[in-house]
């Protein structure tokens, strides 16, 4: 058995040691990825909200310029 095989065998306990380390890393990687995805979603929603608000303001301004009456179509 070469040195690398000896290392991975862990004195016969490899079947317990390596899954333990795998769980440690997988859980922490998931803990790392989840907030990244959430941040992206939050920013996307914020941008969408800002875009909606600014388009609504544009429409109101346009309506005011076109006539003195309030817009007949309520903005969604």
């Amino acid at each position: 058995m070469n040195a690398l095989q000896t290392f991975f065998a862990m004195g016969g306990y490899g079947a317990y040691v390596w899954p333990a380390y795998a769980v440690f890393f997988i859980v922490l990687i998931v803990d790392n990825i989840a907030p990244r995805l959430r941040r992206r979603r939050v920013l996307r929603e914020l941008r969408a909200r800002i875009a909606r608000q600014s388009s609504r303001q544009d429409r109101v301004r346009q309506d005011r310029a076109n006539s003195n009456s309030i817009p007949t179509q309520p903005s969604p």
């Binding site: 290392f7 862990m10 004195g11 016969g12 306990y13 490899g14 317990y16 040691v17 899954p19 333990a20 380390y21 769980v23 440690f24 859980v27 922490l28 998931v30 803990d31 790392n32 989840a34 907030p35 990244r36 959430r38 941040r39 939050v42 920013l43 929603e45 914020l46 941008r47 909200r49 800002i50």
Partner: protein, 252 residues
């Protein structure tokens, strides 16, 4: 209240200031976590000798024990933040408490699973209902309870207040976990590391353990800051400073 809290602390409590502060510190904390983690892995898996009783199976200690420490440490932080949030209604404390819960739950889960993988070859069983194991499982349920209660309310701040109560009540479990090996007869071995007095471990095995302890502490800071920053953006959605961040190209 402001008379006894220093001004800089007061400023740090304001969401935009903390957002910037956390953004600057987070990459450094993550770098330190990776550095100390890598050193600990090399020391623990390669350099440290096998245990005279447990052979190489004991090497699970290098992730099991630091994770167990973090499961209690994070609960303590969460409890203190929850208390501050309930008493002084500081939004940042609320966010810190609520965003600590998933990280704490992750470390508690790791502790239970790695402990089980260690228990099978050493004790001959994956699980036993003894004091240490059961109280750690209760800790996991407390974390899950806090997370669940937080998300059960339509209004996030109302949810945070309810979950903060549960977090504070649950603090009682932390000393129970810690002292369970002394208070009751248990299959679980006693403390290896003593802050006051002699530790029952050789230096070759101790330094990778301490290095991993530092790595998990830094990891918690990095993960918490990332989560808190996202939460602040969501909570302060209508404010000008958030608007600027959302509109900037990268959203950093």
């Amino acid at each position: 209240m402001s008379s006894w809290i220093p001004l800089w602390l007061h400023k740090l409590g304001s969401p935009p200031t903390f957002y910037r502060f956390a953004g600057t510190l987070r990459p450094w904390a993550m770098a330190m976590a990776l550095l100390f983690g890598a050193i600990a892995l090399y020391g623990g898996l390669v350099l440290a000798p096998a245990d005279y009783q447990q052979g190489d199976a004991y090497r699970i200690i290098f992730i099991h024990v630091p994770s167990a420490w973090m499961s209690m440490f994070i609960y303590a932080v969460m409890g203190v933040a929850a208390f501050i949030a309930l008493v002084w209604r500081i939004k940042l404390a609320e966010v810190v408490a609520m965003e600590s819960a998933p990280i704490g739950a992750a470390f508690t889960f790791i502790t239970l699973v790695t402990g089980s993988l260690w228990g099978k070859p050493m004790w001959g069983t994956w699980w036993t209902w003894d004091a240490r194991l059961t109280s750690e499982l209760v800790l996991l349920f407390l974390y899950l309870g806090v997370i669940g209660l937080y998300h059960a309310f339509e209004d996030r701040r109302q949810g945070a207040r309810a979950a903060a109560f549960l977090a504070i009540i649950g603090i009682i479990n932390v000393p129970i976990v810690h002292f369970s090996v002394n208070w009751w007869n248990t299959l679980h071995q006693g403390s290896t590391i003593n802050v006051f007095g002699q530790s029952k471990i050789s230096w070759d095995m101790l330094w990778p353990l301490l290095s991993m302890m530092l790595a998990t502490k830094f990891y918690y800071v990095a993960s918490l800051f990332r989560r808190v920053r996202t939460d602040l953006l969501a909570l302060e959605g209508g404010k000008d400073w958030v608007r600027k961040i959302a509109e900037s190209e990268a959203g950093q």
